[in-house]
């Protein structure tokens, strides 16, 4: 039987470095959630998502978000079929196991809303019919944080639906040299068939059975609550963040081969779970502060059990 570690190794065979991104994608799959990847273009965000879908044998769809995109472009629509004389449903790209929503902030709010509603409800209504998305279902969205012209910022309430927000940085010098050496002549080809969708469903069941001690759970709650009273924070993380920390701690432990979660799991995941759920106030910019440093300080200020 395949394990998540097999998927991780398969993705690592395709992508050089970016271990945090690869782990985040697998964790989201295990925890049955969605990931927001933020980073400059060309740092293998898309390739990582494609490699994940290939490794688990899932259906993969990619949507490039643009200002003229319509909700029906991603959800689907009804067209009149002249041959049978009836309306027929054409399913959009959201009906896939792994959906890559590229540059999510380039589409207007109506499209973002349709996507995020689908992420939450895992179903879509097209005309009179409500259709359920296939399982597993994971949206991997990307966003370029530095190129804000002509973009539509996602409100906190919608960002909250992403289980994780991972910052994708540039590769190290050694990794970049290897990327050029490996892929200058041939395109990267993701490994396929490492696991099956049934394997993924089994992993998700087993993740839910991972033991989460009360004190580890309380630590997740304490970390979440600490964001609400912190300096420079206008709006802290919601209880959904504590829920995300709890389920991801289980997934993290499972990926590490443990049957129980420990405080380290929660603390390790906290930046990725909390960073997109906090709104900082104007004083941070006036003082020239760094949101990541503020978040790190909040996390460090909560004693682990």
């Amino acid at each position: 039987m395949a394990t998540p570690a097999d998927v991780r190794n398969a993705i690592a065979a395709t992508i050089v470095g970016q271990r945090e991104v690869v782990d985040a994608l697998i964790l989201a799959l295990l925890a049955d959630g969605h990931v927001l990847l933020e980073g400059m273009p060309g740092v293998a965000k898309t390739l990582a998502c494609r490699a994940l879908a290939a490794a688990v044998g899932g259906d993969f769809k990619r949507v490039q978000f643009t200002p003229d995109l319509l909700p029906s472009d991603i959800v689907g629509t009804r067209i009149y079929d002249q041959r049978i004389g009836e309306f027929r449903i054409v399913r959009g790209p959201l009906f896939a196991n792994i959906v890559l929503a590229d540059e999510i902030n380039r589409a207007p709010a109506k499209v973002q809303s349709a996507l995020l509603e689908g992420m939450q409800e895992r179903r879509a209504t097209i005309g009179p019919d409500t259709l359920v998305f296939p399982r597993p279902f994971a949206v991997l969205a990307t966003m370029n944080p530095f190129d804000a012209d002509g973009t539509y910022a996602l409100p906190l309430a919608q960002l909250d639906r992403f289980l994780l927000n991972v910052r994708v940085g540039y590769p190290s010098l050694a990794d970049e040299r290897e990327i050029v050496a490996r892929f200058a002549a041939a395109e990267a080809v993701p490994l396929t068939g490492v696991a099956t969708l049934d394997d993924v469903a089994r992993w998700q069941r087993e993740v839910r059975a991972v033991h989460l001690d009360d004190r580890v759970r309380d630590y997740a709650v304490d970390l979440t609550r600490a964001t609400r009273d912190a300096r420079y924070v206008a709006s802290g993380a919601s209880p959904r963040a504590a829920l995300a920390l709890a389920i991801l701690a289980r997934a993290f432990a499972y990926l590490a081969g443990r049957a129980f979660a420990v405080p380290d799991d929660v603390r390790e995941l906290a930046p990725s779970v909390l960073r997109h759920r906090i709104a900082f106030d104007h004083r941070l910019a006036l003082d020239g502060g760094d949101p990541e440093a503020v978040l790190a300080g909040i996390i460090a200020g909560v004693p682990a059990p």
Binding site: H211, V216, A259, F260, V262, P263, A304
Partner: protein, 303 residues
């Protein structure tokens, strides 16, 4: 009733050995109190100032003028910015028929600033007057400097010296006043009868064999096997590793590095005992004791 109250500062240590008796213990249930003639109840720290995360000891000394096997009535202080890593109680038969009890608390303070310990007390019926009384020690505070090495620590040393000078002047003045004022009062009025237990025997700093807090914490966990005793043991292992309280296992393993593999192994298993599923706790606990035996065999753990 008048009672003597004495605060002693010895060798720079913040010794708050005090013998304070406050009348007016709640009448309800007073008949259940033991009849105890307590002549000293003091509390002191073995260091007036410590570094955050450092282990230190708070000793509570109770002298009872009778032969007693136990002193279950002693109520320990409430701790602020201090974590109780383990307790040990010792009984020493004093010459002349009395009994000395020493409660030694091994503690560590996680945050720089101040650690405070509220009064320890015993509620008992004073045989001399037949009334319930609360015998209470003074509260105690210990200055907590940032962990050694940082600029804050250097500032704190300066502050500590300034504080010590301030204390010397303040307490020196108070001590002189405390000697002169009663002397003047006594000389100016006729001498009256003084109750026999007005005299507090001089409280000497207890001379005890060194306590190994790790052995004490292991013994406590072996005896009780509950989460609080496991937490105390785990905290002690972390502190020994050089990690601050409130740290995670990763922090503690990074702090200990490669200098003590037995300690690293014990901490890893303690994590499994503490956070693992209950069905695996018994087996993990056995493994933990084996790891702790190895740890103790490899000698004292360097902090």
């Amino acid at each position: 009733m008048r009672r003597a109250m004495r605060a002693v500062r010895t060798g720079g240590a913040a010794i708050a050995s005090a013998f304070a008796v406050l009348a007016g213990v709640a009448a309800g249930g007073a008949q259940d109190y033991p009849r105890l003639h307590i002549t000293a109840l003091g509390m002191h720290a073995d260091h007036p100032a410590v570094a955050a995360g450092e282990t230190y000891h708070i000793t509570i000394h109770v002298h009872v003028a009778q032969r007693r096997e136990r002193l279950d009535e002693l109520v320990l202080p409430t701790l602020t910015n201090a974590i109780d890593l383990g307790d040990e109680r010792r009984r020493v038969a004093a010459p002349g028929g009395g009994t000395d009890f020493y409660e030694i608390m091994t503690v560590s303070s996680p945050e720089p600033g101040e650690a405070t310990f509220s009064s320890a007390y015993v509620d008992a019926i004073d045989p001399a007057v037949g009334k319930p009384l609360r015998y209470s020690s003074s509260a105690l505070s210990v200055r907590v400097a940032p962990a050694a090495g940082g600029p804050e620590a250097i500032d704190n040393v300066t502050q500590s010296v300034e504080q010590t000078l301030h204390d010397v002047l303040l307490y020196g003045g108070l001590a002189i006043a405390a000697i002169l004022i009663p002397l003047v009062l006594v000389l100016r009025r006729p001498r009256t009868h003084v109750a026999e237990h007005d005299e507090t025997p001089p409280v000497a700093r207890p001379v005890l064999p060194p306590v190994d807090p790790l052995r004490a914490a292991i013994a406590a966990f072996r005896e009780r096997g509950d989460d609080p005793s496991l937490d105390a043991l785990r905290n002690l292992l972390f502190v020994r590793a050089g990690a601050r309280l409130g740290a995670t296992l990763t922090d503690a393993l990074q702090a200990v590095g490669t200098r003590d593999p037995a300690l690293a192994h014990a901490m890893t298993i303690a994590e499994r005992v503490r956070f693992g599923p209950g069905s695996e706790r018994a087996a993990a606990t056995r493994e933990l004791f084996e790891a702790l035996d190895v740890l103790l065999l490899t000698g004292p753990v360097r902090a």
